[in-house]
């Protein structure tokens, strides 16, 4: 996917003016937040599971080679093939190579955020395959020729009306009626996609967890599209990334308790499937070939750095559902695959800090994301580290750097600070008296502080600082 993160400022501003987006996001925020809260409170040891998940992921990340090799040999033992891809180009080449056979034309695809990183669909289409997204949300944005705006609800920014229009445009030719009601929309998608499921030659899915001990891929969906994608065609390809490996089945239970609750407020998602290799000899159905493409794409470079914690992410989306910035501007403003808090941490690491300079600052550091993250990633702290790196690289705005320097020089010296602040409040008060004939107590406009005063009043400071008043009190005592 093209990196557009440099335009954050502009796109965020535009997003704020989008009335449809506002309605859609408002609905999503309430739903996700409230339902999560209910099911989390119900589990009396949720915090213990969070700690368990954090520790398990930390352990695996510290021994990633070991677990990945173990996973690989167990996939092979069950008859599957493992392919290693260090970057997106390699993934695209590997997948195209697997599919390059005369009888293969149609590819169905379950939701995979990893594959968005390098536009797998475009790569496959360029090689003349027909690619159909089967997750309803993904299907909608594929028709709309857009990118996901949320990692678990890719079409969260779309209103029902927009979907009605889209379906009308694309399905009319095949004789489908215009559908307005939610149920009818879903039914129509079901019919259209059913045809594709049953005629696809290859199915590509992602994977949520890779279980080293058994070589299993755990795939979690609510719609069931992942299973139809994986089971009906002759070939099942899993495109997934290396940090998703966990040690064993016992660990899986803990992660599942966290994931459903954090992502959608479910005690368990509808379909959790473990795939182990291709169809067995006497199995009655299932694919004949099973491939796992293990994608690095920059992840191993994050290992061992101060940002390693972000590799614990299980892509539940809770951080964005609880982010007051994300819920107001939506996911597209972030300009790449991963939006919200986890995106603001991950995107600069994956596409380069210079290509996403605004993201680390697109946060008030309110910390709500950190309190809900099921694997306890200290997201605000990581954003602060990004800021620190930008400062050290000399990438922060010069104006800001100088301002900070001057201010720090003043602030390190209490006497100077006292003088400057006393002077400042007096100056502002004079200014206030000059400017504010009718509006007592607040500025409506301050030159240089337009970013504040364009929408907010600014209080007039007191005539003397507290420290000044205190000195006076002490002297008179």
């Amino acid at each position: 996917m093209q990196v557009q993160s440099k335009n954050f400022r502009k796109t965020a501003k535009k997003a704020l003016l989008d009335a449809d987006l506002r309605v859609a996001m408002g609905r999503a925020e309430g739903g996700f937040v409230d339902t999560r809260k209910l099911v989390v409170e119900e589990l009396d040891n949720f915090q213990e599971y969070r700690e368990f998940a954090r520790d398990t992921k930390n352990h695996v990340l510290a021994h990633l080679d070991y677990y990945l090799t173990k996973f690989e040999s167990n996939v092979q033992a069950s008859g599957g093939q493992v392919h290693w891809a260090s970057n997106g180009e390699e993934v695209n080449r590997i997948v195209v190579d697997i599919c390059k056979r005369p009888e293969i034309k149609k590819i169905t695809k379950g939701k995979s955020m990893v594959s968005e990183e390098f536009a797998l669909n475009a790569g496959l289409e360029a090689a003349d395959f027909q690619v159909i997204e089967t997750d309803l949300g993904e299907y909608i944005i594929q028709l709309a020729n857009e990118t996901p705006s949320h990692i678990i609800a890719p079409a969260v920014h779309k209103t029902k009306q927009a979907v009605t229009d889209l379906f009308d445009e694309y399905h009319r030719e095949a004789g489908y009626p215009r559908v307005v009601e939610r149920l009818d929309i879903v039914n129509q998608a079901r019919q259209v996609l059913r045809d594709h499921f049953c005629t696809a030659d290859v199915g590509i899915t992602g994977g949520n967890f890779l279980i080293a001990d058994t070589g299993s891929i755990a795939l979690i969906t609510n719609e069931g599209n992942g299973d139809l994608t994986a089971n009906l065609p002759k070939i099942h390809i899993v495109v997934t990334s290396i940090e998703k490996v966990i040690p064993d089945m016992q660990a899986l239970g803990g992660f599942l308790r966290l994931l459903g609750r954090s992502a959608t407020g479910q005690i368990m998602s509808v379909y959790t499937t473990l795939f182990n290799g291709p169809k067995r000899i006497d199995d009655l159905d299932g694919p004949e070939e099973f491939h796992v493409v293990l994608v690095d794409n920059g992840r191993s470079e994050i290992l061992g750095t101060q940002f390693q914690d972000i590799l614990r992410c299980i892509k539940c989306g809770a951080c964005m559902n609880h982010c007051p910035v994300y819920t107001n501007i939506g996911g597209h403003a972030y300009g790449w695959v991963y939006p919200g808090p986890m995106g603001s941490v991950l995107t600069p690491l994956m596409v380069g800090q210079k290509n996403a300079p605004d993201l680390p600052y697109a946060c008030t550091l309110n910390g709500r994301c950190k309190t809900v993250c099921p694997v306890m990633i200290p997201l605000p702290d990581l954003l602060r580290k990004h800021r620190n790196n930008l400062v050290e690289m000399g990438e922060s705005k010069r104006f800001q750097r100088w301002g900070m320097w001057v201010w720090a020089q003043v602030a390190r010296n209490p006497r100077l600070y006292f003088l400057m602040t006393s002077l400042y409040v007096r100056k502002l008060n004079v200014l206030a008296r000059l400017l504010l004939v009718f509006r007592r107590g607040s500025f409506k406009h301050i030159p240089m502080l337009g970013a504040w005063t364009s929408t907010r009043d600014f209080p007039v400071p007191s005539t003397a600082t507290f420290q000044g008043q205190w000195k006076k009190r002490k002297r008179s005592e």
């Binding site: 609905r27 609800a153 368990m268 795939f275």
Partner: protein, 160 residues
């Protein structure tokens, strides 16, 4: 728990009672009593009087299926299906109505106690918790996105 995840549920005394229960359920849903059944010994040995049944792999024309659950997880109301020559995977996903038969003796309290029962992994283990659903249209839940619209569990109490 299964009803909380929007599945329906009923208990019967023995495997022999399953056909009647399945019939009643399908008629109640206004679906004709034709089912494709997983060829597991438990299901093939029953007398399916009153229903039109076929023991084979489901295809897209089948409206209803009957499957035999390997186990159930009480904590989450989850059905556990393992693939084998007795249990095709498509039965759980292609038909609109899925009736799953679960023996009470096969209930475990949580997932951690399930894995030892399975042992060596088959091609797929499906943990199914309620009917298929989506919230992709305006975050409002609609059932029957791609998998079954309805999932009915028949719990068999007898141990034999």
């Amino acid at each position: 728990m299964h009803t909380r995840v929007q599945g329906t549920f009923e208990g019967v005394d023995s495997l022999q009672d399953v056909p009647l229960a399945a019939h009643r359920y399908l008629v109640g849903q206004s679906v004709s009593p034709e089912v494709v059944i997983s060829p597991s010994p438990e299901l093939t040995s029953i007398n399916w009087k009153g229903l039109k049944v076929e023991f084979r792999v489901a295809n897209r024309k089948d409206r209803s299926s009957v499957t035999m659950a390997f186990a159930g997880i009480a904590e989450t109301g989850t059905l556990v299906m393992v693939s084998s020559k007795q249990s095709p995977i498509n039965h759980h996903f292609l038909p609109e109505f899925n009736i799953a038969v679960l023996k009470q003796s096969k209930l475990v309290d949580c997932m951690e106690n399930l894995w030892p029962l399975i042992g060596e992994h088959p091609r797929t283990i499906n943990l199914i918790t309620g009917p298929s659903k989506t919230a992709d249209i305006e975050q409002t839940i609609v059932y029957g996105a791609h998998g079954p619209r309805a999932l009915h569990v028949i719990l068999v109490r007898s141990t034999c």
